[in-house]
């Protein structure tokens, strides 16, 4: 066998083995999360090594309990509200700002691009204590709307940066035509730039939604009142209050994970573009 063929065979074998390994380590935790959420407490405690799920014994009780006894119905609606509000605010401000940075001439334009990137590198753990202090002082800390503003600040720089890169690829001629025809700048953005940028806007929206939906640290530090909890905050609360009932924590984890994974599998290409363009912090 030639070296070429030998190595080719080795590579093929390694590839199959490697792929199986990765599929196993990536898929298993998600599989286990879902399977465990359908088990009863008895099953969890007495048969911890049972890898399968008996179809006849599927138990929705964990979901019922988490949704109605542990307030997750409320947390879901809070998370939806927080995430959508963050997306709407972040995408609108980033569109307007990104347009200004790309198309308008002003002093400090170059500084802006670097400045944006710099801001985006600031870690949350450095910001959270000072924000905690000042919001506590002002009596604003335990508030969903303040949380939205914090998420806005976390996502806006990247959103603006991503849209700026996209706007630069759009031809300016159409906008000039619009301006000559008597459109205002805002009119140009609304009628020309936004329709042309639909794919980029979708990427940015998905990216922003994911950040807001998944965020843990600020929600954990800021929110005290259970009625205001987001899902992530609620899961932490639940995990701290139940000991053996892992099926409850898993059911709660499924509820916070599934929406984002479904969204991701539907719009995979969009999100991948958003991730690589924005180089998401994490």
């Amino acid at each position: 066998m030639s070296r070429e063929r030998l190595e080719g065979t080795i590579i093929r074998i390694l590839r199959v083995v490697g792929l199986l390994f990765f599929i196993a380590i990536v898929a298993f935790p998600f599989y286990w999360m879902i399977v465990s959420s359908f088990k009863s407490l008895e099953e969890i405690v007495l048969k911890p090594a049972n890898l399968g799920l008996d179809i006849r014994k599927i138990d929705f009780h964990a979901y019922y309990e988490v949704l109605f006894r542990h307030g997750f119905l409320r947390y879901i609606s809070n998370s939806v509200y927080v995430s959508i509000a963050t997306v709407v605010l972040s995408v609108s401000l980033a569109t307007v700002g990104g347009y200004a940075v790309t198309r308008l001439h002003f002093r400090g334009q170059g500084f802006m691009s670097y400045g944006i990137l710099l801001i985006y590198m600031f870690p949350a753990i450095v910001l959270v204590i000072p924000l905690y202090v000042i919001f506590s002082r002002m009596g604003l800390r335990d508030s969903i709307n303040v949380l939205i503003l914090v998420y806005l600040a976390q996502t806006l720089p990247v959103a603006l940066y991503m849209l700026r890169s996209y706007f630069q690829t759009l031809p300016a001629e159409m906008e000039h035509a619009g301006l000559v025809d008597g459109c205002s700048r805002i009119g140009v953005i609304w009628r020309i730039v936004i329709p042309l940028s639909a794919p980029a806007l979708a990427s940015v929206a998905l990216y922003t939604f994911m950040i807001a939906w998944n965020e843990f640290l600020f929600a954990f530090m800021f929110l005290d009142t259970p009625e205001k909890f987001t899902l992530s905050r609620g899961v932490v609360q639940l995990a701290g209050s139940v000991h053996l009932s892992k099926q409850l924590v898993m059911a709660a984890s499924v509820m916070v994970t599934i929406p984002i994974l479904v969204l991701f599998f539907f719009f995979e290409r969009r999100l991948v573009r958003g991730l690589t363009a924005g180089a998401m912090k994490g």
Binding site: I23, M112, L127
Partner: protein
């Protein structure tokens, strides 16, 4: 006077544009100023004052009584050096592992085969899923009492007894007669870091792999280079830039990572990194000043790395 001369020389249209740009950017500036720049400056102030969690209501928060006390306390804490060391091990090992796994995954998925899109999607999911969900799932899997991993391993005779992966500091190992002490919880947390963040490296490396021109490989094939030689002499050099950039980014972010360790171990069993110290000082000892001082240390390290990034890497796009 200089100002008015400048104004006269600038065309009105440009002036108008500047003003418009200003108004379009005001919301962004305000948000960033209030929620990013201000906290950083405010943190400097807090780090120089004796502030406890109980002082948040009184007037002392704004009193001008600055001192270096907090830094003295932080640096003389016997835990500090240990936390710094743990942070460095966690950061270097975690970044390296996630990039290595990302590289392998990208090489596996690169090329044409059925189901490739699905695999790519699957491989990114650890990174997309909420950190609370995956952290609690892994804690459950690794749990010594109810965890599936320990039960399976004990049933199959792999482990003599369940191993508390996330709550035991050291694990004594007998490697061919040599006794080795492995920092168990720290290793588990590093493995989690590799698992959760390899997709980040995977995405970037995959994109770069696809951009390598095919003729390079064809030319090498014609010259008789074997697949492994082609990988070593073409693929790796082509990936050098993206790998070093990834390492820098992962290093910065892992150094400042809080969520993952906090959710997995709360910083117990030898996993106390500096970010956990920030939290512990503030909410364990109610010492906001010391907490802010640790945050300043993190920020100083970050600044050094950002400087490196903007000086040497961001220069050539």
């Amino acid at each position: 006077m200089v100002n008015s001369q400048l104004k006269r020389r600038t065309p009105t249209l440009l002036n108008q544009e500047s003003r418009l740009a200003f108004w379009m950017l005001v919301p962004t500036f305000t948000v960033v100023l209030a929620f990013v720049i201000f906290p950083v400056i405010w943190n400097v102030w807090l780090s120089l004052k004796p502030v406890s969690l109980g002082d948040l209501r009184g007037a002392s928060l704004f009193k001008f009584n600055l001192a270096l006390e907090n830094f003295q306390k932080v640096f003389s804490d016997p835990d500090f050096v240990q936390a710094l060391l743990t942070t460095l091990i966690y950061t270097v090992a975690g970044s390296t592992l996630s990039i290595l796994l990302g590289l392998i995954a990208a090489l596996l998925v690169h090329g044409e085969f059925p189901g490739r899109g699905l695999l790519r999607g699957l491989f990114i999911s650890p990174y997309i899923a909420p950190v609370v969900a995956v952290a609690f799932t892994w804690s459950f899997i690794l749990d010594p009492q109810l965890g599936v991993l320990n039960w399976l391993a004990v049933d199959r005779g792999l482990f003599a007894q369940p191993i508390p992966f996330l709550s035991q500091r050291w694990w004594e190992l007998d490697l061919m007669g040599v006794r080795v002490r492995l920092p168990l919880a720290l290793t588990s947390v590093i493995l989690f870091e590799g698992w959760r963040y390899f997709p980040f490296a995977f995405l970037f490396i995959l994109a770069r792999l696809q951009a390598i021109p095919d003729d390079l490989y064809q030319a090498a094939s014609v010259d008789g280079a074997s697949p492994f030689q082609r990988f070593y002499h073409i693929t790796l050099p082509q990936l050098a830039t993206v790998l070093s950039t990834l390492f820098l980014f992962r290093f910065i972010w892992t150094f400042n990572k809080f969520d993952d360790i906090f959710l997995l171990t709360r910083g117990q069993a030898g996993t106390k990194v500096l970010t956990i110290k920030v939290y512990d000082y503030a909410f364990g000892e109610f010492n906001i000043g010391a907490s802010s001082a640790v945050a300043m240390v993190l920020f100083a390290v970050l600044s050094v790395f950002l400087l490196i990034y903007f000086r040497w890497i961001a220069k050539d796009p």
